[in-house]
């Protein structure tokens, strides 16, 4: 591709917001020596290119979305966000300026800021999205009632004053899916693009057609694209590019359906004259036209002159780089419009077309020129043969090395006879770029030329430095991303390779009592320990998910989970970090014991790309409660660390001194205090009459008898499992120690020989745990079986159940472990066992029927009572775990 020679001149800098200008709204227009510029703020600037001074600044009531210039009479039309179109007369203003300031030419700042007040608003319509001018007509596009409305207004002629802006016609149409329903504003940050295409016949008749960005389209493309009717009417066509990617054409002369009657439109006819030409499937940012085929050789010189020939190719460019070009293909016998899609490197911020065959487009990193003149370019015969058609099969963009330009415009200054590109960079700098290569430079230079040359060089350096800073930023960002990726990979590899054994990064979870807000409560502390050789860098997050067991007390309770996330700033190898979560008070029923706690490390990949947000709230959004940590919709890396269960036994709180002095005697278990003994023996002998036994043991708990449960395990089994010899400590004490081994507050037990403890549950209820040795006489014909009975009591049924669950969970694990070692059971009296089993089955059945029958009125209370009773019996089995 040919090198595009160019020379860049900086003209002026304009204020820009932090982070630079955003493409779409900024606009640069050029007429004669003046440049009209809006940078997306509420200001519109007029810059004199000749004198290199800012001539005027207009302050609009709101953000400026679009600016058009009407050269005759000199008027600026400004579309402000959500308010409408304002008209500013430039002649009046310049007169005003001359009066106020005579010698302000030297200073580079304007004499003042002219406010554009609401009197200047000629179309007050908050739903207006875009407009364009065509001679003395204004074409507006607005969005209302789920439709796009295109309206044609006639501007008042300069000589007549009274009827200001007569609406000639309007049409409502709805291309494709409904435009966004977000009120009246445009649905996205993209505005529609409007562009006027005239037929060649219309130019001759109309004197001085003015339409910025508009073009004359040659036959037969005009007829092919817009139909014979529009061509014969010689109607100007409006091309609309919508944010959803549709490219539509509307004939301005046949715009009308019919005028509204009483504010209601005739919707009976469903075919407005709107034609959908193409669907680009991405927001359209530019529509333009090119002259791709050179005329006869003698015309080549005046090709640069504007308006000499019409255009023969229409292009539309999408934001993400898709571009479509349409040209009439007359090679074959039938003339058909050839439509070709190209893929440029996006995102494309803006684009511009001149009178030639080149289109210029700007991305964040560069301005590129593409040439659609293919016929003239196909020196290679193979190329021409391989692809039929009139458009080049591929485009080869040529770089202009100007980065981050958000608004482009092509101006052709008559004085120089060459075209130049006007560009507004994201940093608010206005520059021009000559499109002709300065080849005749190094002949004898006059001092003035040398001075100019130096100036050019300096501005070239400025341009380069801006480009360098941009590229440097990009490189830095990529380096950072790579470094992050590397450490993420290291950590992941370390964790994944040690799947079996101890993980190099571990998270230990313990339950503690602590004083929070003058209140003792249970907290869960997670100790994250980094034993690997890599440090956990910023970006990692520890996710702790608390999941209440499905076997919670309520029957219909579903899994409820809460996820806590802790960003880890840095955790060097060998370091630890402890994090504490409050487990909540009794009121927080969501977190009911036992809790399953899963810990995982999470790394958001968005952070690597620099697009992620740093705030932890966003992360909380990312990881909502009630969802598993690993879910496919999260763009990141998630490494599970550990999972554990926190139950009642871990959360019990004991007073600093042993709970019951009378229960502490270290003597052997059987001669327990009298009360305990009495109760126990009564329960043992008459399990049905547990009520009586409980009555005895309810001293200060109001009228409620404490709930109780028991479980018996054979001493043999426990001894084997706990690996204690009888000489060491009594088995009952050992059992209790084993049960409370994970309780941080139970250290006192290890020093003394205790067989019974009384503690406080997290919700404040009191719980008692008692272990003693009993002999089971009836079971085995071989004699009594020694067993350990674990008794649990609490005035609160819920606490008792949690406790029961916790103990059973441990014993279950123990039995499973022992079963794996395979110790044979002793000889048993089967008849007796069967009897017990039958009893229990009956009880179960009773419970089942009671639950199935819906309780009615008073009967309900009785039923509940009965049910409780049955459950109580079930909790005190006469069986022993062997």
């Amino acid at each position: 591709m040919a090198h595009v020679g160019h020379r860049v001149d900086y003209l002026a800098g304009f204020c820009c917001p932090v982070g630079g200008l955003v493409a779409g709204k900024p606009r640069v227009l050029c007429h004669e020596n003046e440049i009209y510029l809006s940078n997306g703020s509420e200001f519109v600037y007029v810059y004199d290119q000749e004198g290199k001074v800012l001539k005027a600044v207009y302050r609009c009531p709101d953000q400026v979305w679009h600016v058009e210039l009407l050269p005759q009479p000199r008027q600026l039309y400004i579309l402000c966000a959500h308010s409408g179109i304002y008209c500013v007369s430039l002649e009046q203003q310049s007169r005003l300026m001359e009066q106020t300031d005579g010698d302000g030419q030297e200073s580079n700042c304007p004499s003042g800021v002219f406010p554009v007040d609401s009197d200047a608003c000629i179309f007050p319509d908050s739903s207006l999205c875009m407009f364009t001018l065509l001679n003395n007509f204004v074409i507006t596009l607005s969005q209302a009632h789920g439709k796009w409305w295109m309206k044609l207004h006639e501007l008042p002629r300069p000589d007549e004053e009274s009827p200001p802006y007569r609406q000639v016609s309007e049409v409502g149409f709805c291309p494709g899916p409904q435009p966004g329903d977000e009120g009246d504003g445009p649905p996205s940050r993209f505005l529609p693009v409007l562009c006027c295409a005239s037929s060649p016949g219309a130019v001759g008749s109309g004197e001085g057609l003015w339409c910025s960005g508009g073009f004359v389209l040659e036959e037969p493309l005009f007829s092919l694209l817009f139909g014979i009717d529009a061509a014969m009417l010689e109607s100007p066509m409006i091309l609309c590019g919508f944010p959803d990617g549709q490219l539509c054409s509307v004939p301005l002369k046949a715009l009308s359906s019919s005028p509204a009657v009483n504010g209601c439109h005739d919707v009976s006819n469903q075919d407005p004259p709107v034609k959908i030409l193409h669907h680009l499937e991405e927001p359209i940012v530019f529509i333009g036209a090119l002259r791709t085929e050179r005329r006869a050789a003698e015309d080549a010189e005046d090709e640069q002159l504007f308006g000499d020939a019409g255009c023969d190719c229409v292009v539309a460019v999408g934001h993400y780089g898709k571009m479509v070009a349409v040209k009439a293909d007359q090679r074959e016998e039938a003339t058909v419009p050839e439509l070709r899609e190209y893929y440029l490197r996006g995102p494309i911020l803006c684009a511009a077309c001149g009178s030639g065959s080149r289109m210029y487009y700007s991305t964040h990193s560069d301005i590129s020129a593409v040439d659609l003149d293919w016929v003239g370019d196909s020196s290679d015969p193979e190329d021409a043969e391989s692809c039929t058609g009139v458009l080049p099969p591929v485009l080869s963009p040529a770089s202009l090395s100007i980065c981050s330009v958000v608004a482009l415009s092509l101006s052709s200054r008559a004085s120089e006879g060459e075209s130049e590109l006007l560009a507004l960079s994201a940093k608010g700098r206005l520059m021009t770029c000559d499109l002709c290569s300065p080849e005749d430079a190094d002949v004898g230079l006059t001092p003035a030329e040398v001075g100019r040359r130096i100036k050019e060089l300096l501005s070239g350096i400025g341009n380069t430095s801006e480009r360098v800073s941009f590229l440097k930023k990009a490189v830095d960002q990529k380096n950072r991303a790579l470094a992050s990726l590397n450490q993420v990979m290291n950590v992941s590899a370390a964790l994944l390779s040690s799947q079996e054994g101890q993980k190099p990064i571990a998270c230990t979870v313990t339950a503690n009592w602590s004083c929070l807000l003058l209140q003792d409560s249970v907290t869960i502390s997670c100790l994250l320990e980094n034993c690997s050789e890599y440090s956990l860098e910023e970006g990692w997050t520890l996710c702790v998910q608390l999941l209440a067991s499905p076997c919670a007390l309520e029957e219909e309770s579903v899994d409820s989970a809460t996820t806590f996330t802790f960003p880890i700033n840095q955790l060097l190898p060998g370091n630890k970090r402890e994090l504490t979560l409050p487990l909540g008070s009794a009121a927080d029923t969501k977190l009911d014991l036992p809790l399953t706690i899963s810990c995982a490390l999470y790394y958001s990949l968005r952070d690597i790309l620099g697009s992620g947000s740093d705030s932890s709230e966003a992360l909380d959004d990312l990881l909502p409660d009630d969802s598993p940590i690993l879910s496919p919709d999260r763009e990141g890396i998630c490494l599970p660390l550990s999972e554990c269960t926190i139950d009642m036994l871990q959360c019990l709180c004991f007073e600093s001194n042993p709970p019951r002095p009378d229960a502490s005697p270290p003597a052997a278990a059987p001669p327990d205090p009298v009360e305990t003994f009495l109760k126990a023996s009564r329960e043992q002998t008459e399990p049905e009459g547990a009520k009586a036994g409980e009555l005895l043991d309810a001293p200060g708990e109001g009228n409620l008898p404490p709930s109780a449960a028991s479980i018996r395990v054979s001493s043999e089994l426990l001894k084997n499992a706990l690996k204690t010899s009888s000489s060491d400590v009594p088995l009952s004490c050992a059992t209790l120690r084993w049960l409370l081994a994970e309780n941080a507050g139970a250290e006192a037990l290890s020093s003394e020989e205790v067989a019974s403890v009384r503690g406080t549950a997290p919700d404040g209820g009191e719980v008692q745990l008692l272990v003693r040795e009993v002999a089971m006489n009836d079971l085995s014909p071989a004699g009594p079986i020694q067993a350990v009975e674990i008794l649990m009591e609490s005035p609160s049924l819920a606490d008792m159940c949690r406790m029961h669950h916790a103990v059973i969970r441990r014993i279950q694990a123990l039995v499973l472990e022992q079963a794996a070692q395979g110790s044979g059971p002793p000889d048993l009296r089967m008849q007796y066992l069967r009897q017990i089993q039958a009893n229990h089955e009956m009880l179960l059945k009773e419970a089942q029927t009671l639950r199935d029958r819906p309780p009615l009125g008073e009967e309900g209370a009785a039923t509940a009572e009965k049910l409780l009773h049955v459950y109580r019996q079930l909790r005190n089995p006469s069986l022993v775990l062997l």
Binding site: L134, F137, L152, E154, P163, R166, V168, S169, S205, G206, E219, P220, S223, L224, G227, I228, D229, A231, M232, L233, E234, S235, P236, P251, L252, K253, A254, L255, S256, S257, S258, P259, A260, V261, N262, G263, C264, H265, D266, V267, S268, N269, Q270, D271, P272, P273, A328, Q330, E332, E333, A334, T335, V336
Partner: protein
């Protein structure tokens, strides 16, 4: 600010609010009686914000029974100004009313947060019994009815009035079941008396009248749309008797006229339409309906007159937004806006009317007028964007090339052959690039001839094919006209060239390869193409005859006869050519066949077929055989002699 003073000073507040409301209403009374329109419109906006602010302040305090009558009245006035200031149709739900009703319930200690507006009304009217609230509530109800009518929610409106009447006087509403329920309910509704302490900006009697008119008008339109013309007629007549502005009355009469026309009573329709115009001459849709009725009656003079008048009227006042007097804040036109009304009152553009004039003149054979109108129309097309040329489905205009061809046809008939040739040239040059020249078009064109299920698959492709077919037709017709025009100018060679071009174009389509097919199965375009081919063959044959090239002429006539064996012109020319070539036997045989097929039958056949485009009519006329009687005589003589020969 108000909150600071607390509830203790509420009577003070109430007095202040009442005074403010009274002052606002008084100012409005003064303003609307004097002052130009613009000032009044500004006053409406001022008042809207004034009442709106007052209402906001009142709502700053919790609702209380003593202040509610004033609050509801302020709400009523504020909503009226909202309606008056919008100056266009009312849309959406009246949020203010909903909120007002909630305030009423709040004051009474009830709750209605989740109810719809209909349910809310039911609850309020049934549960709130406070005497002093009845009148303001009824007024608000009337305003609600206006909102619902504007949304065409007739059921909700009727339900509301049922509630209002029941609450007041159960039993009266039921008396007239035969009549329209909503109307009888509306009429039976007793207007609450207006108190001097709570001034209204538009009286409730006015509002009731407007509601009656709008309800009748709306329902009439609905019945008209549903095709129940007698019901529609009576409802619209009811509406016409109601209270409304002149422009609305004219609209109602126009609708009455349309209704009568659809019932097959053109004279009644004309009467209604005339009344519409008498009431409001700006009701131009009535004038176009008048033209349509005259067209139906076959009174071309009157129709053309009406159209000319319409054109003149359209030229005089460009369609501007009707300035409405703000005397009435709520108006019937704000309540009635349905699509059917919009289509009935479709405003014709001047270009459409001009075309209709030209077309009717041409159809009626008023060639000179037709030429003038067509030229005017073509001039209109050259004007700027002010002159809109509607091309959508509801437009009176055909496709633009057809208009050009019709113009050419008119010029030709008026003897302006050169002009006709020029106009045709435009059509030919415009279509040149749009007609595919490929021979493979043959299949594409044959496909639509035999309707296949795949035809609907690629709609875009098919429409494109159809479009090229249309272009081909227009281009061929252009050449045909040029041929006949050159023939009339006596330039046989030029004429033959044009006819040959026409035939060449038609050959491009390869339409007749499959032979003669029953005409019913053909696309209209294809049928027209065949006709053009026939006319072109006849035209060229005639020119060959003129030049004395009888054999070539015979070939053309034979082709033409093959295309359309029953066509009298084609057969007659064939007979003539055969006769001139001295193949008298064949000529006689053809002639006999032609005369055997009853001429009446022919005409019937032609009537059955689709009418040919207007632009072909002149060519059809030109192609009729001029010397049929002399030819018939000579053939009969010949037949007599030959028949006698074997006898003698």
């Amino acid at each position: 600010m108000k909150r600071r003073r607390g509830a203790a000073s509420e009577p003070g507040c109430l007095r202040a609010w009442a005074a403010e409301s009274q002052a606002l209403a008084g100012r409005w009374q003064a303003a609307r009686c004097s002052g130009p329109d613009g000032a009044a419109a500004r006053e409406v906006r001022l008042q809207r914000s004034g009442f709106g602010e007052l209402l906001l302040r009142m709502r700053g305090l919790p609702a209380a029974l003593p202040t509610l009558p004033l609050e509801l009245t302020v709400l009523y006035n504020s909503l009226l100004f909202t309606m008056g200031a919008s100056n266009s149709a009312i849309e959406g739900e009246a949020e203010g009313i909903h909120q007002g009703l909630l305030r009423v319930l709040e004051a009474c200690g009830a709750c209605g947060q989740d109810l719809s507006t209909e349910e809310l009304w039911q609850k309020v009217l049934q549960e709130v019994t406070a005497e002093e609230l009845q009148a303001p509530l009824h007024r608000l109800g009337a305003l609600q009815a206006a909102w619902w009518l504007a949304a065409s929610r007739l059921g909700s409106t009727a339900g509301l009035f049922r509630l209002l009447s029941n609450a007041e006087d159960p039993g009266t509403a039921r008396c007239s079941k035969a009549e329209n329920e909503l109307l009888s309910l509306l009429k039976a509704w007793r207007v609450p008396a207006e108190g001097a302490s709570l001034p209204l900006v538009q009286s409730i009697e006015d509002l009731k009248e407007i509601l009656c008119t709008a309800a009748a008008f709306l329902q009439g339109l609905q019945e008209l749309e549903a095709g129940n013309f007698p019901t529609a007629l009576s409802l619209l007549q009811e509406a016409a008797g109601g209270f409304c502005s002149k422009s609305v009355l004219a609209q109602i009469y126009t609708c009455l006229g349309c209704c009568a026309q659809r019932m097959g009573k053109p004279q009644t329709a004309l009467q209604h339409l005339k009344r519409a115009l008498q009431v409001d001459f700006q009701c131009l849709p009535a004038l176009s309906h008048v033209a349509a009725v005259y067209h139906e009656l076959g009174e071309t003079d009157a129709e053309l007159q009406a159209l000319a008048l319409l054109y003149e009227a359209l030229g005089k006042n460009p369609p501007a937004a009707a300035s409405s007097s703000p005397y009435f804040l709520i108006r019937t036109e704000l309540l009635v806006h349905t699509p059917i009304l919009a289509s009935l009152l479709r405003r014709r553009h001047p270009s459409e009317v001009k075309y209709l004039l030209a077309q009717r003149c041409l159809q009626d054979g008023r060639v000179a007028d037709a030429v003038e109108h067509y030229l005017d129309f073509l001039a209109l097309l050259q004007e700027g964007l002010q002159q809109q040329v509607p091309l959508d489905g509801g437009s009176a205009l055909p496709r633009i090339p057809e208009v050009f061809l019709e113009a050419a046809s008119a010029l030709e008939q008026a003897g302006r052959y050169q002009d006709a040739i020029t106009v045709c040239e435009e059509v030919i040059s415009r279509t040149t690039d749009l007609i595919p020249q490929m021979l493979r078009e043959e299949e594409r064109l044959e496909q639509p001839e035999c309707p296949s299920p795949e035809a609907g698959l690629a709609g875009g492709l098919l429409s494109q094919k159809k479009e090229s077919l249309c272009c081909l037709t227009w281009r061929a017709a252009g050449y045909l006209h040029q041929g006949w025009a050159w023939a009339e100018l006596g330039q046989s060679k030029e004429a033959i060239t044009q006819f040959s071009r026409c035939l060449g174009d038609l050959l491009r389509a390869q339409l007749y390869g499959s032979g003669v097919e029953p005409t019913e199965n053909l696309l209209p375009e294809v049928e027209v193409l065949q006709k053009i081919r026939l006319l072109s063959l006849i035209g060229r044959g005639v020119q060959f005859l003129e030049l004395g090239r009888h054999k070539e002429a015979l070939l053309d006539f034979q082709h033409g006869w093959q295309i359309s064996p029953g066509d009298p012109a084609a057969t007659s020319y064939l007979v003539q050519a055969l006769w001139k070539l001295n193949r008298k036997q064949e000529a006689a045989a053809h002639w006999q066949k032609l005369s055997q097929s009853c001429p009446g039958e022919d005409r019937e056949q032609e009537g059955q077929g689709r009418p040919f485009p207007l632009y072909l009519v002149s060519c059809l006329k030109q192609a009729t055989f001029p010397h049929s009687e002399s030819l018939a005589r000579s053939i009969q003589d010949y037949l007599r002699t030959t028949n006698q020969d074997p006898l003698s």
